[in-house]
Symmetry: C2
DNA sequence: ACCTGAACACCGTTCAAGT
DNA sequence: ACCTGAACACCGTTCAAGT
């Protein structure tokens, strides 16, 4: 059906096609049959390269994590780590459904080990004890994952959202939300994200 | 089929049964047909009370959020907010799959408005400007959502996890991860969660 | 070695028919 | 008003059969 495919099938080509398909049509639209069609092949052919749909999803996450690059060494450890989380958040924006997959259904084999190793190295060299480095890692990870998900899925007080019931918000029932309304529209989310990172870094410095 | 049901069907009863079913069997196991069976009724009957499966999922999230209680007023605003996030995290532990649903598929009508209003009130009374209260809200929310998801789904350097490739981790390829290994097993996650909250609060105090 | 057709056991959902 | 049987258009997956 699709013009895409005469090249031979391979795990890699299947995964990359699936990633593009989900970015375009959304995760719910992905089926083995449709992915087959996208590759000019019957659904059953996919099973020669991927054991089942679960493994396909894991593979897509793997593709994404593989594209994540560790920022170059820097004499400013905080900047290096900030940059790593910027890239992580950008990945969420570029591939929202697959990012969600990474969060809700992290693959057994976690391909983020290299990133974690590099992160810890940076923190250890900055003088943090192993235990504190672990806490810092989890705090910054948690914050970034949560912030990105909130952006992607539009929870956490989005401007003008029916999502927060903004339309029906009566000013006397919800005075604090109401006074916030003008601010919601002109917050720079990039800056806010950095601000949040800064809060955690400040806390870390205080305890170091 | 199930002994459960002779009481009349209702939206509420459907949602509560669905929540219990998902807590027990997992989200993937939930189908209209099986949920019907659970209620002693054919699947099609459910459509008299719920427009479709999406609305059913939204309703389940709604049930959960409805059970979340705002902690009592307190002279210590930080403690009050901490307690609210503790409850939120506990909800994630008690209902992991539905919590994931809340994150990946937040319902259009967000029933968290009362919580948000109360949160903002507390922060405003503690002296924060509206804009800063918004940033604080988003930072603490993001952190808690991310931390809870990491726990529930076991990402973020879990102990002994094949998930981080822990088994094959050679000590010279991943020295920092290796030195961390002993610590992974004896970290108190409750304490670590509080520590992370503390980092953000410290940052906020510094900027207030 | 890789692809496929047919089949199986499941889905969500519609709709006319029953009470 | 609420429940249901039958049907439709889809799923993921298996397997014997083809090349």
């Amino acid at each position: 059906m699709a013009i895409t495919g005469r090249r031979p099938l391979s795990r890699r080509r299947i995964l990359e096609t699936a990633v593009r398909f989900v970015d375009r049509e959304g995760l719910d639209a992905l089926s083995m049959r449709k992915l087959g069609g996208e590759l000019g092949v019957e659904a059953m052919s996919l099973y020669n390269h991927v054991p089942n749909k679960g493994a396909l999803l894991d593979g897509m996450v793997e593709v994404l994590l593989g594209e994540l690059e560790v920022p170059p060494e820097s004499d400013n450890w905080e900047d290096r780590i900030r940059e790593a989380y910027r890239r992580f958040r950008r990945m969420a924006h570029d591939h929202p459904d697959i990012f969600s997959l990474l969060i809700t259904r992290p693959p057994e084999a976690m391909y983020g080990v290299w990133l974690a190793e590099e992160f810890l190295k940076t923190l250890r060299e900055a003088g943090f004890e192993p235990r504190m480095a672990l806490h810092a890692f989890r705090a910054l990870n948690s914050y970034t994952v949560g912030y990105a998900m909130a952006e992607i899925r539009n929870f956490a007080l989005e401007p003008g959202g029916s999502r927060m019931g903004a339309q029906q918000l009566s000013e006397d029932e919800f005075p604090r939300l109401s006074e916030l309304k003008p601010h919601l529209e002109d917050v720079d989310r990039d800056a806010e994200f950095e601000f949040g990172l800064g809060l955690i870094f400040a806390g870390l410095r205080e305890r170091a």
